[in-house]
Subunit: 238 residues, 2 copies
């Protein structure tokens, strides 16, 4: 019998969906993920209709490094920014276990060829191209400056895709959905760019995240592999 771990890696290699619960003691949220490299408009429609939360793209640390993509928090903390826009002196991200001293949020972007950037066909193209461009510059072994230029030729900011950037030490430092999804991509051998969306409740007066039991049942009913953060950590870190 195939384990959920093996089923998840196989699903990602086939461009299919996996479900990841970070942990009931952490966020307690289940996010669905597709690999960006083969993302279809239909996959994006599934994320927004079946999961429903904010859509984001997690990128591996090596992807952010290749293109020089920062955490937005490090941009807003610059002296000139807080001097010119003092509100940022007061808006520093709250510390807590969800951020663990830093935060994964990067910039937003759209591919320059999109019209508004919002529809499934446009957002899925933006995601696919970012994954493809990373493979292209990786194979060319080009300089970071040349990679940044190519990045800017294709993408502008702000846009409709919000990046979450893996920290440089992966799961050993942070076990958020960003790190968990990139660890899965690396284990599956697919490009470390993943498109995720948190599952929300559509049930009556429960307006929170979808609870772990119904999330697990939903995934089982669709043959979508379901993993918890601790299962992923155990497989990756041993």
């Amino acid at each position: 019998m195939t384990s959920q771990w093996e089923a998840a890696l196989e699903a990602l290699r086939n461009g299919e969906c996996v479900a990841v619960l970070d942990g009931e003691e952490r966020e307690g949220e289940t996010d669905l993920f597709f690999p960006a490299a083969s993302l279809s408009p239909a996959s994006l429609r599934l994320l927004r209709t079946q999961a429903g939360g904010e859509m984001y793209m997690s990128v591996g640390h090596e992807v952010a490094s290749a293109f020089g993509l920062p955490y937005i928090g490090n941009v807003l903390a610059l002296t000139e920014v807080s001097a010119k826009f003092p509100v940022f002196q007061y808006m520093e991200k709250s510390k807590g276990e969800m951020c663990q001293g830093s935060c994964s949020v990067g910039v937003s972007l759209d591919h320059r060829t999109t019209k508004t950037g919002a529809p499934d066909v446009e957002r899925s193209y933006t995601c696919r191209r970012l994954a493809e461009l990373f493979q292209e510059v990786k194979e060319m072994e080009t300089s970071v400056d040349a990679s940044q230029r190519r990045f800017g030729e294709e993408f502008h900011t702000p846009g409709h895709i919000f990046l979450c950037v893996e920290n440089g030490k992966g799961l050993s430092v942070r076990t958020g959905h960003t790190e968990l999804s990139i660890a899965l991509a690396n284990a599956a051998g697919v490009t470390p760019v993943m498109v995720g969306c948190v599952m929300l409740s559509n049930d009556g007066d429960d307006f929170g995240a979808l609870r772990p039991a119904p999330a697990r049942a939903w995934a089982a009913s669709r043959n979508i592999p379901f993993l918890t953060g601790s299962e992923i950590v155990k497989h990756v870190l041993g």
Copy 2:
């Protein structure tokens, strides 16, 4: 017979939804809007299940001014930002009619009391509190610095609510959904903070924005007022 314009203003005063098509020659997208001041978790669920696109909060120019909230493009264009993070030298927003030389996108935020910030109950609270806080500082006629401090005591960045900021000259300069929704709020006499979401197609192989005819039919079937950008401009500017 009540006109769509009067029905829209009445809906907003009651905390209900309106639909706005910017124009078939512009984006050709229909966005649903609720007034933020009375936003419920159920309203937010309706936006994400019935509209489906990126959710955002449009704020009037006076709201952004009261709290010193900038366009993110003006932050990323600062010398220190582009010197430290050169990728921004290359990622300048494409010029085009959707941006008309500038862009409406501001910062993202969550209320500090939220856990992850993502679920409907948390996002709706973030939106309501921003609208309430604007009314509070407006009535107190406090200084911009004091307002910014109070803003930072309640909200941190980055977060799950993405702001779109009305330009200072409203509909006379730009007729995007940001300006259209704020013009409606002002006409209805509600706090100029609106929560919007673009309607996307869920129909077969059409992965674009929901077309104007089915958007109009959907609104009619639910008794939701439907206005076009040119109708709003005509009512507001005469």
